[in-house]
Symmetry: C2
Subunit: 342 residues, 2 copies
Amino acid sequence: MPTIDDVARKAGVSLGTVSNVLNNPEKVKPATRDRVLKIIEETGFHPNLSARNLSRSKTDTIALIYPFSQRRRTEHYYSDFLAGTTDTCFRLNYRLMLSSYPRDVSEKEKLRNYEELTNGSAVDGIVITRTERNDSAIQLLSDRQQKFAALGRCDLPIDFPWVDVDGAKAVREAVHYLYNLGHRRIAYVGTPALFTFSLHRSEGYRTGLEEVGIEFDEDLVILASVAGNEIEAGENGMVGFLKVEAPPSAVIVGGGQLAIGVVNGIEKSGYRVGTDISVISFDDTDWSTHYSPPITTIRQPLYEMGKLVAELLIKSIAGEEPEDHHILLNTELVIRGSCKKV
Amino acid sequence: MPTIDDVARKAGVSLGTVSNVLNNPEKVKPATRDRVLKIIEETGFHPNLSARNLSRSKTDTIALIYPFSQRRRTEHYYSDFLAGTTDTCFRLNYRLMLSSYPRDVSEKEKLRNYEELTNGSAVDGIVITRTERNDSAIQLLSDRQQKFAALGRCDLPIDFPWVDVDGAKAVREAVHYLYNLGHRRIAYVGTPALFTFSLHRSEGYRTGLEEVGIEFDEDLVILASVAGNEIEAGENGMVGFLKVEAPPSAVIVGGGQLAIGVVNGIEKSGYRVGTDISVISFDDTDWSTHYSPPITTIRQPLYEMGKLVAELLIKSIAGEEPEDHHILLNTELVIRGSCKKV
DNA sequence: TTGTACGCGTTATCAT
DNA sequence: ATGATAACGCGTACAA
């Protein structure tokens, strides 16, 4: 590997000049610049990134903590989001480090993982996902003055850049939609309010019911443990709903995998999705869009979200802290075949 | 950020000793070691990775080129594979850089992307995926003496570490299975032999037919362009099959997304999957496992494959070149509800 | 066992 | 416009 010294020598200039050719082209006379450039081309010189990073105290790298599920073939949550982030880094000349940790890891180990990442100045910033209401990772990063941006909000009194989707509004809209279709017994299957998105969705459900004047009935709500198998949980929950004397005619599901279970539950109970029980779920996956009937879903702009967090973070690293570094996006109710008039 | 100097000063030793405490603990007397360790703990010192990388000429980082599809919600191909790689890096104390490039990029730009990655010694090695029969990226990396490992084989006369699945055998087994179920008109929907996996699967189809004594009929084969929409291609192909006078009673599909189209095509033509037309496809996705009927699939050990390539590459970086750095894994035919006796 | 000094390849500052 | 020279922070032979 040729170094900047080699280039300087061959071009008959000092290494400072070579550096300037690369980093401050306007500071060097066109003639010498061309000569140096030619030598660079010939020798195939490329600045060593470790040296460059060391010298600039900057790595042009951000990390993304992406907790893969251990279960085989689970929808790897939000891979469109990952695509958005990856593409954006590529476009903005940033490198993306993908970091993971086992999902069933203890809170403490999880935090250690974040710490490791902040140590040694290996990355300029971190993207975090699946924010919790009381997110210890956010607290940690904030304490350590690490630049970060999040997919999702957080209840902590900390100001940081985030991108989120208005999950409450999304579910409210779903309730209205079902109400207008004539449904009066609308169930909700979701996840407990540990994660902020879970909370928002549940709140949307309650608010929605209030708005249309349906009384909240806690027998129509199931919040499945995040730890367990979502598909089983959804199925069991739905089967339970359909056993009672006044079963729901529609169900809103606050999670993609849960919906698979819910649909299974409906079919195993001898009902048909859409025709007998209306279903609305989150996210356009291959499953939801190509199931028969295709599932009516609340679409989140995942790719866009990935793009935006990356942009927000990179801006923050560049020292820009735009006023609008809280981005709340709207979802879209995509009507397919799983909801019927009643 | 405290430096190694700060620690040395506070501990009353030289910086060489501090370095040894970290990298060659046995070379330093327990007493001083403990003292230094305590200071390190107190000051929260962590070696700066850029400096460390520069000094060692090593980054403990590998890159993964992962061509995300631009289309929303398209098969994000093999995210289990990605999980395997990511987890393995985490476990082996390596960092993983995720790199992407637009799928519709020209061959030249694609290669430039690989070049960039090799420049500046930013990574110790590269994992490549979707190998082609005549893979220019492999040629490039080989020429540049870059360490790399691949998911998939390649026809080039280059020896490199790879992990692959025996796709030919997989499809042969599928043919046998259908034959034993009584099927004699077995169609194949796949992709053209640009990628090695496509070729292997197609070959397996032909070999399988030979083995059971069915004559190859090219009217029962469709190789969809990789560029287009797989779902549409599968659907059109299948609809075409079902229009001819002697339609197939079974179809093997050489790609996950294609199968969605094939199933659509069957249903739109008024037939029922399983009951009328048997279907075997690749990969256990949420769609294939939870469609009704659930699709009988050829399961690839994707997570395992991701784990193995990462291990292979990291070994190669460490200078180990094990004899068995060509790993061919078996698939598993997972029987569900989409194939019936005829 | 411990300390010194140099090298790693850049960037950046400051004279010239 | 260009050229020395000093950081940047760490690893490591080599000397003590």
